[in-house]
Symmetry: C2
Subunit: 253 residues, 2 copies
């Protein structure tokens, strides 16, 4: 039996990124897609419990069924595996995201929210992102690498509760230099809210912001991407800061 | 000058939990509160970028200013530190949440989303939660411990990008046995969506679910809580799974 690949994203079903991912996945196995019915960027690991979910069937071809859901990327994974997958998926894929989910962006990412949810629920899972926000970004250079990463993961399963956060560079010379398994770089968003006044004299605040990364050691995802490599970060569901345990324990002794 | 404590939560300003936290914080320093204007449980690390934020001023007393925001807990932190804090907060507090944020719940938690955001932005931050979901939960037993944990953190600052996820048990005998610094227990939610049919014959899906934890070793938060201890988990903004790096690296060599 062919492997079953479950696909979602956070940009919505019509995004070019997920359409590319579906095309690659169909060359490998049967595919079930459940994507949010609207752009759900920045929804992170949020889920819906205060209202029920609605699902729309877009395509019913057995080897490639497509649904949309009015919830978050995490909701898509949760409801799809229970009610809409014909069998347990062999691999959950999310993306290809329009824009980086490397470094601290993993915290905010709906794409990676779905991946971490799948991983926490016992599924193999990979998130793919391209460092180009534009709607018509060129995903073609990612195609052979995505196929390779999917096949390697099917052959060499990830450890329990570990997923992959894969980001693709957009090198100036167009040459991707290979794959680097690396750690999440420390960085932060320097947020700035632009205060405006509405026609009735009331203030409102628009989020703007600037990404600042001072941790570009050769073992980081940010270094890999800035040097033309694809970054692959093994990602955990365990947020314990094990390094600082002794220091904190000393405070409470 | 008194320390400045910035407070938020995910249950909204009217929740009993945040009112208790405000009361404790006011005995220690000046307080700025910015809470979501509605229940924002399960919003995790999501933030708002596709529309501007609106802020309401609820109270203008200089040593205790109170605002509500129509965004997420993460939004509250982001916009408050820039536009509504009179100076850099010495400590960011979130909660007291009505219900557990121990173990895998940290992934979904808006309370902890705010804390992790504050920590990623360079602030000291602590999330507090009580293992009682009810609106009229009894937060009084947490009061002396919260004061102690705040004072210890002001005296012994946390490492960069490390925050604390503090959960309070509700022991049957009412006796809290102390504080345990521990790791996040591995667990998962066994989700089940209840399918219903609306009056027009269309299906909709309600999330239900059951928490399953088989990792109750003595060094876990789940063990601490089940044995009457307050769990304190040092929490990181770095999701890299360092343990599995060698295994994944071997796949890509």
């Amino acid at each position: 039996m062919k492997p079953l690949l479950l696909i979602t994203n956070d940009d919505g079903l019509n995004a070019k990124g997920i359409q590319t991912l579906i095309r690659v996945a169909r060359t490998i196995g049967d595919v079930v897609i459940m994507a949010p019915d609207r752009n759900s960027s920045g929804l992170a690991h949020s889920f819906t419990s205060s209202r029920p979910l609605r699902i729309n069937t877009i395509s019913n071809v057995p080897e490639c069924t497509i649904y949309t859901c009015d919830g978050t990327p995490v909701d898509c994974i949760k409801v799809c595996v229970e009610h809409f997958c014909p069998r347990k998926p062999d691999l959950v894929l999310s993306g290809i995201n329009h824009g980086s989910n490397a470094s601290i962006n993993v915290l905010y990412s709906g794409t990676m929210g779905a991946v971490i949810e799948a991983s926490a629920s016992g599924y193999q899972a990979i998130g793919f992102s391209l460092l180009d926000h534009s709607q018509d970004a060129d995903f073609e250079p990612t195609v052979p690498y995505i196929k390779d990463i999917i096949l390697r993961t099917l052959k060499h399963p990830l450890p329990n509760c570990t997923s992959l956060n894969v980001n693709f560079p957009v090198p100036e010379d167009g040459i991707i230099r290979g794959v680097k398994v690396c750690r999440q770089s420390h960085a932060r968003w320097l947020d700035s809210y632009e205060k405006r006044i509405d026609p009735r004299g009331m203030p409102y605040f628009w989020l703007t912001g600037r990404f600042e990364c001072n941790d570009i050691e050769p073992d980081t995802d940010q270094w890999a991407l800035e040097n033309g490599f694809i970054s692959v970060v093994p990602t955990t569901t365990d947020f314990t800061d094990k390094c600082s345990m002794p220091q904190i324990q000393a405070v409470y002794e």
